[in-house]
Amino acid sequence: MKTLLADALTIAGKDLRNEWKSKQTIGMMIIFSSLVILIFSFAFDPTNNTVKAIIPGLIWVITIFAGLLGLNRSFIAENENDSLTGLKVAPIDPSSIFLGKVLTNLVLVTTVQIISIPMLFLLFDYRFHGQIIWFLLIVLIATIGFIVIGTFLAALAANAKNSEMLLPVLLLPLLSPLMIAAVQATRIVLEQEGIADAISWLQLMVGYDLLFFAACFFLFEFLMEGS
């Protein structure tokens, strides 16, 4: 387990170093999320109180669609010089490749969220009065679930001819339960309705994360064998 984690960190470190040098993926993700926020801020009147109701949904629209850009790149980048084969012939557990990619994608998407969520609040003139800890917990748990299933499906789609188109088609239906829970829980926290109402949604998200993490973690080896 210790070796698996060390290998995963090595792979994530390599990916983040690669990204730090090129800034290709993170740059596109930040530009995309900023444009979406900007367009929505012009499309809706921020002084209108009903507009506040769309903020929980917008947080997740930005996360999912900006995240898709990064997920698409995570395994396609390994096709360069066939370096995925280099990882496959290395004496490492294939699950460590999955774990490494999950860590990389989590760092990228979290970075985008750190920039885009405050920007969203700012442009929609939204004053945050909710409980920040619960809000961060909900965002983190839902993001982990999204990244886990997204990374697995990105590996599955990477060998397909139209992987950029295939990934959203596979991912979005599977994400529906998680996103419904995430939007509802975020809304409850932002509207200060009392955290007790959000707990059941939070439990659903934790259950979803654990189930899909276990399934993806064990199935990834077979995915690598077949690719």
Partner: protein, 234 residues
């Protein structure tokens, strides 16, 4: 000793390898040659664990290797058609990354020595995207040698190399062979096969049709004539 016993591989309804058997002792160098589509690269992929055989067994030092063996992967250095390197990273970063995955001790020192050995020491901090095919191949060779493998599997390693790089590669192969590393080489370059290897297997339509020792003093033309006769069945 690495032994492949009666390996058969079927993909879809196509029989790629038929009862393929091979023994590679440490310090021995063997070439596998044959026409395109004979199953040479598939055989390599089976041996390094990238594919599972439909039937047959792989033994390493008398112990049977089960599916996805980390031990086998640590002991085999595989140089494929591609370099498996990352273009945005420098030679040093690429080697340190693979060194960590192979749990190499004293990585930095070993990387510095290998970069000197393959002649890329002065380029160690330049991203490899600007490297020529020959430089990439030199670095790929350094990557393979990094983990001190017991067996080297080289799939057409001389392709695209200039004369200097070919000499360097052959020198490295000979040195490693003297140190007791088993070498398995796939090549269409008969000149290199004759100069590097001691034994040759001819693979055609998924099975070994001929095997013989190589006499390096025999010369290239008799070897080519022998190969053509074997493949054409005359």
């Amino acid at each position: 000793m690495l032994e492949l016993k009666n390996i058969t591989k079927v993909i879809g309804d196509k029989l790629i390898l038929r009862n393929f058997s091979l023994t590679l002792a440490r310090g021995e160098s063997v070439a596998v040659i044959g026409p395109n589509g004979a199953g040479k690269s598939t055989f390599f992929k089976l041996a390094v664990g990238l594919m599972q055989p439909t039937s047959g067994e792989i033994h390493l030092n008398q112990a049977q290797i089960k599916k996805k063996s980390l031990l086998l992967q640590k002991k085999i250095g595989y140089l494929g058609h591609e370099s498996f390197l990352y273009n945005a990273l420098t030679p040093r970063e690429n080697l340190v990354f693979y060194g960590k995955l192979y749990k190499v001790k004293n990585i930095e020192e070993k990387v510095a020595n290998l970069l000197k050995e393959v002649g890329l020491h002065y380029f160690k901090d330049i991203p490899i995207r600007s490297f020529s095919r020959g430089m990439m191949q030199r670095l790929a060779i350094a990557r393979v040698l990094l983990a001190d493998p017991e067996y080297l599997f080289l799939d057409e390693p001389h392709t695209g190399l200039d004369q200097e790089a070919v000499s360097l590669l052959n020198r490295l192969i000979e040195e490693r062979q003297r140190e007791g590393i088993g070498i398995l080489l796939i090549s269409h370059d008969f000149e290199q096969v004759v100069s590097v290897c001691e034994r040759v297997l001819v693979l055609n339509k998924g099975r070994i049709i001929e095997e013989r020792q190589i006499d390096s003093e025999e010369g290239l033309m008799p070897f080519k004539n022998w190969y053509e006769a074997v493949v054409s069945g005359k």
